[in-house]
């Protein structure tokens, strides 16, 4: 397992049904339920000392982790698996910036990187092996490093 902090408790494994809405990076925790519905996935919530992770398991095998601070804000998301996840849903309003970065480049089949003071998005890999992560640096809880987001 790859949890850098001690795992305090696995609280719940459940399915949430909810009206759809835009989520999620930078939004509050309730938006994650929408992500789960959009991705037709199961969700597991893991509480750590500094934050909570919501693990959304898609039927494709792709795993999405959303990181929620003690204040209930989604400060980071990460994904890994054979197919890309619903990036529009989990990046929320930041999906447009991802698109701009993917478009304005001379790279070909390389990673898509957004590195701004208020937003980091990193997406890479190839078919059958995609991965990436996004976070808002200012929202990272104390004692949480970017290496914890994976």
């Amino acid at each position: 397992m790859i949890y850098p902090k001690c795992m305090v408790a696995i609280l719940l494994i459940f399915l949430v049904l909810s009206d759809s809405a835009q989520a999620t990076l930078g939004s509050d925790e309730t938006s994650i339920a929408n992500d789960q519905v959009k991705m037709k996935a199961t969700r597991r919530i893991v509480s750590l000392s500094q934050y909570t992770t919501h693990e959304i398991q898609m039927s494709s095998g792709t795993l999405v982790r959303e990181y929620v601070s003690a204040q209930g804000q989604v400060f980071a998301v990460a994904w890994k698996g054979p197919l890309l996840p619903d990036l529009q849903q989990i990046l929320g309003s930041h999906f447009a910036e991802y698109g701009v970065a993917a478009n304005s480049k001379r790279t070909r089949r390389g990673p898509v990187l957004v590195q701004k003071p208020g937003l980091v998005i990193q997406s890479g890999g190839h078919m059958r092996a995609f991965f990436g992560r996004a976070y808002i640096p200012q929202m990272l809880p104390a004692d949480v490093t970017v290496d914890d987001i994976q």
Binding site: K40, M58, Y98, T107, R109, L113, S123, G125, M127, A129
Partner: protein, 416 residues
Amino acid sequence: MISNENMRLWGWILALIMALAGCGGGGAGSSGGQPASTSTSSTTGQNVMPIIVDAGPAGVNAMNIPYTSVTICTPGASTCQTIDHIIVDTGSTGLRIIASVLSSSLSLKQQMSGTENLYECLQFADGYAWGSVKVADVQLGGEPIIHSLAVQIIGDPSAAAVPRGCSITGISEDSVATFGGNGIIGVGTFQQDCGSTCATTPAATGAYYTCSSLSGSSCTAVAVPLAQQIQNPVGMLSSDNNGVAITMPSVAATGSVAVSGSLIMGIGTQSNNALGSATVYEVDPTLGTLTTTFNGRSYAGSFLDSGSNALYFVDTSITQCTGSNSGFYCPTSTVQLTAANQGTNGTSGMIGFSVANADTLFGNTSYTASSGLAGTSITGGAPNFDWGFPFFFGRTVFTSIEGTSSGGVSGPYFAY
């Protein structure tokens, strides 16, 4: 390049002429208009497809993209078209053509799933390509024709609109300019493009879809059995079907005008594709990856990808470019580095490579190739080392297909 006569023969002759002349041309699309190549690595034989690394079709301004030509035909008929500037990609599987370069004389057959048309959302890390799955007869080099090969037609105007499950994965790459070529021939380590993931439960962001109308909202992700998925075309040949070798000449890190090389089908099947002294690096059979060690860090998800136009890896000590070339490295002078690759079979070897100034490279508009083009990558989480096309210069790189054997070794593997 269309005729109702025996164009397959002409396609073969054209391929041979191109191999001898070392210049990609003819067929659909327009060529890059770059100076004649100065460096070649020519190989001949019926299992050889010429590679040209030029500026690509109009509007692409390609750097480090290997292109070849493929002949596709109406199934069971002699109406054929040779299409140039097809990207040679060891990082994906399957033949895909941009719809706008297809001649209206061709009549490709729609692939069905049950009673509905089958479509695919091809996902890349930097975008997606949506289009119909059609059946064509295909000729690679001088090899016998592959009959009824499933091919993706990207940006097909007769296809259903892009469904939400596809568009939410990124940005569209469905034109020659956005895709970077007239098509792509994926000759990677996998026999199918998606594999078991797509053969079982369809996912919310699926690869294969059926659509009951031309509306994207009518589309549903579907499971497709392995045999009906888009296949590695080399794996469908009657012989020379266990992988490919890509041979390229050495190219300066500081840049070069167009160069040419060869895509050779088969490994150890002919006198021109023996493994010889190449070291075999077996890869993870699920992910197609090996392990690269660089700057004291181990990158387990690394891969050799002729479709990536640069080496993509993290080295925070190298100055990055700013402005339009941000993401690439811009050292004041070329940097020499070393890394090590390790296969799942335990073999390992050192690699020396260079990082040149990308602003200078892109600033010389006559340059279309460089062994020193490199860019940064994902800094954490699941980082990897993407050995893009610069790695292939000055080498012969073998890519073995899963489920095959070559040189006494079972695939999948890379060797060089």
